[in-house]
Symmetry: C2
Subunit: 225 residues, 2 copies
């Protein structure tokens, strides 16, 4: 019984890592599809999102089953609670990757990235992929220095997000309304992706230490600029 | 001991209702401030958001404490699990109200609602308030017919959301880029607010019945139109 118990706890943590890996693949493909108007890559992301959704639901089910049958305590309890508290955020990160893929598909065969913002969005996409990889590593090994690294990437993404609005609201902006809408939504998605990762990382700090980090899902930039 | 236990479980459910009430007040004030450029009402919402954040954290703490000390089962366990799974969504709904208040403050003394969209945004705001009230009632009494009602309001909001994009992308749109950005963000916030409510309502169905509704946090409209 004890052994079965520990197997299922290991399973919970392994599943968190697995979902985070799938999210990493999704955001990598989605941001590359967005940058190069690659419709088949975009389709792959849209297709695969339901797998992430299903895995998040199955993880919640497993966590609740463990709580009901095995009444874990201390660190074991924290693993289960963390799963329940972060599964929805990981699922949302997958949704955001899907949204970026949908933007790509919606504008195809035209480019989804508005003129003049290609390098900004490319950099934001790279940073989001980095964030997802770091989060996966953090979930795997609970090396809390990774949480710090993650926050730094989030700060860099926030700055790029603000620069998108500065560009769109500047006199030099000649984009059509559709380009303004796309820039606004894409920037918001890419920025929110990293916010979710930071929110998950704070809950991993709780998992590892039992301490509550100040862990509301706050945003470090205002709603608009 | 048994009595203390039941008190704290009632407390969990009462706190969920309380947070949902605070969210209702926030979205009511925020959407009215947005509609009338009422800066002091907007400031109230921004000021009060940290109360919602704190209450969500305290609720998570209480839920974990109950899990650790009292090993609840069956419906008692579902109450605690539901709290852990929905607290973040309620907190996000509060954040969204704050974002709408921030948009209002950002544009003050000018109007935040772009020309030609006033009646659409007024209606979306009213529907969001209705959604928040219905959700509070659902959390209070678990009358599952309210979950259905809530989905209908969400559908109506989604249609209005799509109509905002149709307007902004039509030939008749003469708004500046800043108006396009504001319309895009405000519409997205108001639409997401209802999505979160639907997501919470699905978890209340689980609480009441023990059945898993198909409960990913999916969105019923595409990322853009």
């Amino acid at each position: 019984m004890r052994e079965v118990f520990h197997q299922s706890l290991e399973d919970v943590q392994a599943r968190l890592v697995e979902i985070s890996e799938l999210v990493t693949i999704a955001i990598d493909k989605a941001t590359r599809a967005f940058g190069s108007s690659d419709i088949s890559l975009a389709e792959e992301v849209i297709e695969a999102d339901s797998i992430i959704d299903d895995k998040a639901i199955a993880l919640d089910e497993l966590a609740i089953e463990i709580l009901a049958r095995q009444q874990p305590v201390a660190r074991d309890l924290r693993i289960v609670v963390t799963a329940l508290r972060v599964s929805a955020s990981l699922e949302r990160m997958g949704d955001i990757a899907e949204h970026i893929a949908q933007l790509t598909r919606m504008r195809f065969p035209e480019r989804a990235i508005p003129k003049g913002l290609k390098s900004t969005f490319t950099r934001m996409g790279e940073l989001d992929v980095e964030v997802a990889r770091t989060l996966t590593e953090l979930l795997r090994n609970e090396d809390l220095s990774l949480a710090e690294l993650l926050r730094n990437s989030d700060d860099a993404i926030d700055e790029l997000h603000i620069s998108v609005f500065e560009k769109v609201l500047s006199d030099s902006w000649t984009g059509e309304p559709s380009a303004t809408v796309d820039a606004t939504l894409a920037s918001r998605y890419l920025e929110r992706f990293a916010d979710h990762a930071v929110s998950v990382s704070k809950k991993v700090v709780y998992l590892a230490t039992g301490d509550w980090a100040q862990d509301t899902d706050s945003e470090s930039v205002p709603a608009t600029v």
